[in-house]
Each structure stands twice: as structure tokens, then as C-alpha cells.
Homo-oligomer: 321 residues x 4
């Protein structure tokens, strides 16, 4: 290959820029040019390309978001859109593509691969819901962002009449809620994988009071049952008219200067993706397993539903004591 | 005086601990003992006192919250509660009190002063709604916390189909919304002092699109009209089904390690409060005006409603261009 | 005026970008175009200009440094260089210039003004050594950076056999050392304005031990006597072979995402500078005094040597108790 | 076992408090009491013990340093000191100890184990120089601290006449320098494992200029050859009188609020250490390998010299392009 492409797709994840930097500079070190495909698969259809030099990725690793922007493209899922995308990259001279994103993005990469166009995936998704890798790019920064919020909430006056609810990202995965909740010492952590009830939460709250803890902090993933807002309403509707304060972090969790761990992970994965692509090991996602990178076939990644780490569930209970 | 008291009251504000440190060490430098009164006026009634040494305030300035805790006391507003509080501090040998807090706290300090017990107030309130001082303790840290949230939200993918709403503190005052919104370059800032309408906000959004700005960020003070939640619902109910993401910062804004400016301000004010108390200049709040402290009578502070800074309102519009 | 110029000069200060943003958007709101002059007066001589639109300053306020870069120009101080600079800006259609920087930068602005070309200055310098303004742009962020270092050093194991020396910026001014040292609770703060001796510092160290403080942290401005390195060597040369750890912050203090206070200050000053320029009030620096901006003639600013704040010197001693 | 002990020893590492919290609460969940041994092995000899309840470790996880303090004890390495330590813990009813620290600390733990007293080690050391674990507690936070310094230095004015040298920790190990240098995009990273020469560094600098990079940042581990100070002097002694600015981070790197990754790692390791101790799997260090904990015999850990990660060395060169 003489020229490869790189794109970011799906939700932003801090560290994507470090992955782009690693792709460009690894390719360069191997005598290969890199073309940036803007706005994910939408930009593939629109032929929105820009050649990337070592200088054009200088200094980008510290910024959140992605210089290539992301988008979700319904058109790419149509046969016409897909064909147009394929023709565009081929006619531009792109011979293989590194796709950085979550499961939707890898689905697109698999479709290209199956159509005979070589691709390698890099896991970028703050939810940490992808199989085949210990961590995805963006998870570490997002966890730190949530942790800072927990730490700050803990600063405010202790009161036995008050609870704090913090809603965090995670439609299907409780990883962020668990990791940040354990690190921050939350009393209760509610994840999508294990629905619970308002009654159980209120019972836990009473037990916490009895144990003498000076605060009651509940981390609620956005996909959990019950929802943070429902818990809040239930608490104020109790006889005691309990005062529950709500923080909804929202997209704050997608931003911020990427942590060292995220930039380092992104650099390892992005660089290994180029190596795989140039060595013909395509149709795979590059994951991290321990300190080493590993190549995992798309089918294996996409067929799998990542279960919550048993150890984290156990620790969540112990640390809440 | 041989012994003075210090208390924090009302909502927590980052920097209160630096003020406590300054009170204790300034008193010490003048040969005077300091007694900490825990949980504000409630602790005065409960005789919840602890002598504070230079060592017991060592290292506290960097923590959010207040080592003396705060509480709101309805009992203190009754004649019986007030008398009991007064007797308790007198019988403990406390001859004057430094009160750190917002307008409710200063009201209590004025009541004590009017009953013949010397007090000096120190403005601590993240809302910056007190007259007689350029800044209150906690405002700078809270503004930085909001600004970090705005910066992070700006990192996420630009999209012409998306708006971001960030709800910040400020029941009656738009200071935090304005200061953070201007610093962060928000497109629209909605403050309690100037009610607006959903229609105006939507019109502003369309104008912003026309000007080519890649994002639309609205900062909404919690006491503003319309409310952040109402704006969100209105946006998704428009024909275009506009996607508005909401962040509610909540009590995160009250916490965090105090900024240098907050610790320095708290040190200046806390130290000057002790000087004023020992020199018999009581019944006043110590404010900052420029780089100098100033003593402002309670009546002057409490009779005044601080208007929004004209200059900030003007800049909010210009920077949103 | 139809077109104005803006430049940054001298040492970088966080917040300069927010000032540039404010200049461009205030001018725009008044129907005036802004031209960026790159690399300070050097760029004036090289005719290194670029028109700035509202979009080209979008999102810059959160970055440290300055998008226009800075440089120090010896050539501008020669009659030939000066004339060339003047001709270049005039022939480009620039009718007035906003100069953002320290005293060297304001000197250049005064020279232009004296040659009949209208300029207005904005104080940008982390040292806070300029007269005529309570604060310069960049001071607040730099103070926070130093404070974080002090906080982190305090975390490490207390030991009665160890001292920590932190060298901070300040060739002639002790402001940063004092402000951060007081906020961080340093035991000793050494400023350029008040030379001291190794013996005095060692005596202070012994006194601190006697008072039972668990650490001994010394903040040393780079222009102070004795120097941090000398103190360190003297400590390890004492009979006890005292272990002194040194941190030299260096240029770390010039960088970082500007704090809310710095961005807000830069916005106020940058905007007021354009107003002054367009209203013909030139030959002045815009300072902040309290919450209001003020116009101060260059001669007044440049003839003055800002003394250390008496109050800070006093507090430095008290808080070190 | 009914009662176990926990101690921290050697250099502070952020996250040690989270490990202590996990030890206490895991023991509690298994019906076992925990005793804190203060100041490492020195406190074992001095019988400086305090029972730790769930409440006494509440809120500590977010602070840097260690609530138990650390110390280095020469006395423990004498037969008399060792015997006294052993008798003290036995007579206090402590039946096993969790030792948190680096290789020196694990050496002590092995000595106790060999004397028939059960111990389990937890790797805490910012240098990441221990075998048997992917990461030690404190590494992630220290890397982030260094990265922030690099990011800030990058903000300052680009200049082709200036280099920035940042000295970081690492007497024998280049991990921190490599990890932070890659994440931060440093041009050259100098580690203890691969001595280089001033000439090579100057040659690299000239090549960087030719490639058009706007800055030249060199990360130097404190144990590297040449030393940061030597490089600086050599640079200013070149004919061009090159201006090299030096930052020495020092003990700043040991402090700071632990990152989410450090707190989570410390929680996993501390909890698993208690499990191992109570299940009789002693004489081992608990390491992290991927997302799982692993028990590694002391001999295996202590006989090994951890080599620098090949992949990081390679990436350091590529990213510097």
C-alpha cells in the first residue's frame, strides 16, 4: 500500500486525536501516505478527504474530540451509499482504512472488508462496552471526569437529610458507573445490567444512615432501571420529604483533554493498526490485552456482549460499606 | 478580647477553610484564642464548640467544604433559640464572632450585633449576590468548575442539528452564568434578572446557524425563565425535532479544591475580619474592593439587591457573536 | 477607523487569546475589521498580517499561548526597523493597534503613539509587575499552576528531615511567589524585593520544627536572593546533612488553559481597548481597578515600579505560622 | 485470622490510601479487623499502631500521600530491630500484614514471611519498575502530572531558538519518561536504560528543525545519562548560544489526587491482598495482569529487573517525528 485512510465515527471519545496522530506518523515511518476522511462514513460518501502530514497532526493529541469530526450516516447503510463510498476511496487512491470508533463503526468497517476493501478497527468509545480489548479509547478520561464530579459533591456539607444522585453515561454498559463509583466511594451504583427498585435503594439509604456514613451518593448509569430522575422524585415523595440533589453530567463526559493513559493507549492501538493493515492482517480490531496489542476478528468482537466485570460488581458493594 | 469564635453558615463555598485558617492564625499572631463553632448557628445553640490551634487548621485551605460544617437553623430565628445561642457563646468565654457565609448568615450576625454581641461578617457564597464586595469567597472556584464543563462540551462533535444546555447555580443572580458563559464563549446566557422566551432562544439559535458557528451552547441559571428543562423540551418538540443535550451541574459547583484566587481572597478577608473585631469595628462585613479590604455595615449590605454587572451583560452579547 | 490591528508581544500569558477574541468581536460589533499582526513587532516589520474574522477566533479563548505568537524584536528599536513597521501597518490600511503584553510591549506601543500612530495597550504578563491595573492577564492562571505544585508537594510524606524548595517565576516581582505561597500555606516565601540570607532561612526552618509543623516548604522567586539552588546546597552542607528537594517550575507557569478569571479579565480589557481606540482615547493602557476598567496613560504606567502589596507581605508571615 | 495489619512504606505513591481503604473494608466484609501500622517498618518497631474502622478510611481515597505515612527504616534491617518489630505485631494480635510499597518494602515483607509471619505485598511505586504487574499504584497519576507539564510548556511561544528540558522521576526506570513523553509528543526521551550523548541530542535537535517542528521538547529521566542540567549547559555553550529552558518537576510527581485508574487499581489490589492473606496464599505480591489480579511469589518479583517496554521505545521514536 502507498496510501491509507483514517476516519473517526460514532460518539466522540477523548484520545481519538492521539490515535490519528499515531496512524499518520507510523505510516510515515513506513513510507506510506495517510488521508483523513472527515465526518466518518458520511465523509466517505461525500468524498470529504484531506491528506494528513506529520505537521498536520502536530499538537492534536491533547485536544478532546477529533480533528476529523464524527457523524452517523444512515446513507452508508444503503447499497447505493455504500457503493458510492467505496468508489470514492478507491478512486482517491486509498488502499486500506483505519476505522476508529465503537461497534457501529466496526460494523461499517466489516462491511467494507467483506466487500474486498481492507480495513482495521480501533476501539474508541467511552462506554467500554466492546469485547476483545481490556479498554477502549476514551474510557479513562471519561472515568476521571465522573470521578472529579463525585469528589466535588463529597465536599459539600454532610447532612443526614440529603442524598446526591449523579447520572452518568452508559446506555447498556455499567462500566463507567462502576469504575467511577468504586474509585469515588459511592454508596450505591446502579447499572443497566442489573435492574433494581426504588424500594431497595431507599432501604440501602436507611442502612447507610445506620452505619453512620456522612453522605449518601448514588451513581446511576443513564440506561439503568430505575432512572436517576425517578429516584429523585421517589425520594422527595417519601414521608420524610428527603432532599435529593441531582447532577446530570451529560456530554461533559465525552470531552476534556485526554488522560495520559488514553493517549498512550490510542498511540499503541493506532500504530498497531497501521502495522496490521500494511502487513495484510485485516478484518480485525486491534485491542489491548494487558500491555500488549492483539488482533481480534470483527465477527468475534461484534457477536459478543461484554458482561460487567464480576470483580467490579463485588468491589462496588464492599467499597460502599 | 481574649477569645473569639468563628463559624461557617449557609451553602458551602470553596475557600471557607482558607478563611478559617486566616482567622485562627491572625488571632494567634495577636495573642487571641479562636474557638470553632460547628454547624453554624445550630452549633451555637447546641454548644458544639472546639478550640482551634494553628495546627488544627494546618493543610485545610486546599479542601473544599468547611471543616466546621454548615447548617441552616430555624431555631436560631426564634427568641428562645437565639437566647440560648447567645448564652452558650458567652458562657464559653467567646467575646466576638467572625461569621462566614451569605446573606442569611449575615442576618444572623446582625441579630447578634444588635443584641450587643460583637460580630464581623465575611462574604462566602458562590452566587456572588452580595453587595459591598467585588467578589465573595467561592465564586472564582465555582466559575472555573462551570467553565471546565463548557470547555468539555465544546470538544464533542460539532453538529448543526444539536444544541447543548448547561444549567448552573444562581436562584436570583446571573453572575455565575454570565462569568462562565463569557469566559467559555457560550452563544446564549439566560439569567434570572432578565426573563426571556423560548421563541427568542430558538430565533437566536437560527441566527447562530446562519452566522456559521459550529455549536450552540446555552448557559441557563437555575432561577432563570424559562428553565433549562423547558428549553430542552421545546427544542425537541419543534418540527425539526432538534436534539438538545442537557447537563445539570448541581452541587458539583459547590465543591472542589479552592482556586488560588479564592484562597487568597479568603485569607485577606478572614485576616481583616479578626483585625476589625479586635479593634472594635464590628457590625460590619469585610468586603474586597479592588485589592483592598473595606468594612461595610450590615444594614448597607443587607438592604441592597446586587444588580447584574452592565458590562457583563454587554460582553455576553458581543462574545456570543 | 475602518480597520484596526492587534498583536501580542513579550512573554506568553494565558488569556491572551481571550483578549484577541474580545478585540475582534467588539470591533465587529462596531462595524470595524481586525487584522492580526503575527509575532509582535517583528511581524510588523515583516508585514506578517492576517485578517481575523469572528470565526477565526472561535474557540481560541481556552488555549494557552497566543494564536498570533509573540517575539522580541531588537530591530523594532532601531529607527529603520521602526519606520518600516510603521509604513507596513499604514500601507495595509491599519489605523490603530491594540498591543497586548508587558512593559516592553507597552514601550513599543508608546513609541508608535508618539510617532502619531494611535495605540491602546492591554496588560498581559504573568508577573503582575505592571502599575495601573490590579491584575494583568495570565497572573491568575500562573498562580493556580504554582498552587497545584505546592498542594502536590504537601501530599508527600511528612518528614522532619526534609525541606521542599519550589522556584517560581518573578525576576523583579514577588507577586506570584507571595500569592501562591499564601494560598498554599508555604512556611517561607522569598521575593526579589526583600533579599534575605541562608542563615535566616535556616533559623526559620528550626523555628518551624519547634512549632511542630509537619513540613517546611519554601517558595523562591527566580529573581530572589538567595537563589533556590543556593539554598538547597547550603541545606545539604549543614552538619545535619538536611535533605532539601527542589522543584523548578520554569515555563510550565506560562502555559495551561486560562482560568475563568483570566479569560473574563482579558475579555473586559480587550473589549474596552477597542472602545478606547475607536473613541480616540489612545496612548493609554486599559487596566482593571476593582470591577471597572480604567484608562492609564503609558507614561504613568511605565514610569512606575510596582511595589509588593504590603498586605501580602504581612499575610505571608501570618499564614506561615 | 481475626486481625490483620496494613502498612505503607518507601516513597509515597498516589493511590496508597485507596489501597488502605480496600484492605479495611474487604477485611470488614469478611469479619476481620484491620490495624494500621504507621510509618512503615519504623512504626512496627515503635509499635505505632491504630485500629482502622470503615469510618476511619472514609473519604481518604481521594487524597495523595498515605494516611499511615511512610518512612525508610535502617533499624528494621538489623536482627534486633527485626525481632522487635515481629514481637510487637504478634503481641498486638496481628496475624498477617498487607505491605504496600516498592521493592524495598517487598524485601521487608519477604523477610517477615521467611520468619514465619504471613504477608502479602501490593505494588505501590510511581516508577513502574516492579516485575509481576502491568502497573504499580501511583504510576498513572504521576504520568498525568508530567503530561500536564508537557502540555503547558507546549503552550508557550514557539521559537526556533529555544528548547525545553523537563526532568522527571526514574532513577533506574524510564517508564514515566517514555509514557508521558509519548503521550505528550516530546521530540526526544532520554531514559536510564539507554545512555546517549549530548552530541546525539544536538543532532536530533537540528534534524527536528529541518523537519519544521515548531518546538523541541526533551524529557529526561533523573537517572539518565546525560543529566538534564548537563544538556542545558551544553546547549547554551554551543556557538549559537541556544536557549534551553529547564523544568525540574521533583516531588510534585509524588502528589496529587489519585486518578480514577490508580484508585481502581489500588482497590482491586488491596482487596485481593486481603483475600490472599485470609486464604493462606502468602509470600506473594498481588499484581494486575490485564484486568485480572495475579499472585506472584516475592522471589520472582525481587529477582527480576524490569526491562523497558520495547513497544514504548519504538513509539517514542515514531511519535517524535
Amino acid at each position: 500500500m502507498k496510501t491509507i485512510g483514517v476516519l473517526t465515527s460514532g460518539g466522540d471519545a477523548p484520545g481519538m486525536n492521539a490515535a490519528i496522530r499515531a496512524v499518520v506518523r507510523t505510516a510515515l515511518a513506513r513510507g506510506v501516505e495517510t488521508v483523513g476522511i472527515r465526518r466518518g462514513y458520511a465523509g466517505m460518501i461525500a468524498a470529504d478527504f484531506e491528506p494528513l502530514s506529520s505537521r498536520s497532526v502536530g499538537g492534536i493529541a491533547r485536544w478532546g474530540g477529533t480533528i476529523l469530526q464524527t457523524a452517523r450516516s444512515l446513507e452508508f447503510q444503503t447499497p447505493e451509499g455504500f457503493q458510492e463510498a467505496l468508489e470514492n476511496i478507491r478512486s482517491y487512491g486509498i488502499e486500506g482504512v483505519v476505522v476508529i470508533g465503537g461497534d457501529g463503526s466496526l460494523n461499517g468497517a466489516r462491511a467494507l472488508q467483506n466487500a474486498g476493501f481492507p480495513t482495521v478497527g480501533v476501539p474508541g468509545s467511552i462506554d467500554n462496552d466492546l469485547c476483545g480489548t481490556d479498554m477502549a479509547i476514551g474510557v479513562d478520561t471519561a472515568t476521571n471526569t465522573i470521578l472529579e464530579a463525585i469528589d466535588k459533591v463529597k465536599d459539600t456539607a454532610s447532612s443526614h437529610e440529603r442524598a446526591f444522585l449523579i447520572e452518568v453515561m452508559g446506555r447498556r454498559s455499567g462500566y463507567l458507573a462502576l469504575a467511577a463509583g468504586i474509585a469515588g466511594g459511592a454508596e450505591v451504583i446502579i447499572v443497566p445490567e442489573y435492574p433494581t427498585s426504588i424500594d431497595q435503594i431507599l432501604a440501602e439509604m436507611r442502612a447507610t444512615r445506620v452505619r453512620g456514613k456522612p453522605h449518601f451518593i448514588v451513581i446511576v448509569a443513564e440506561g439503568a432501571t430505575p432512572k436517576a430522575m425517578e429516584i429523585r422524585e421517589a425520594m422527595s415523595a417519601t414521608k420524610t420529604g428527603f432532599d435529593a440533589r441531582l447532577t446530570v453530567l451529560g456530554h461533559v463526559q465525552r470531552g476534556g483533554s485526554p488522560s495520559a493513559a488514553d493517549r498512550l493507549l490510542a498511540t499503541k492501538l493506532g500504530s498497531a493498526a497501521v502495522d496490521a493493515l500494511l502487513e495484510g492482517k485485516t478484518g480485525v480490531m486491534v485491542g489491548i490485552q494487558g500491555t500488549q496489542t492483539a488482533l481480534v476478528p470483527y465477527d468475534e468482537v461484534l457477536a459478543c456482549v461484554r458482561p460487567p466485570e464480576e470483580e467490579l460488581l463485588r468491589l462496588g458493594t464492599i467499597i460502599g460499606l
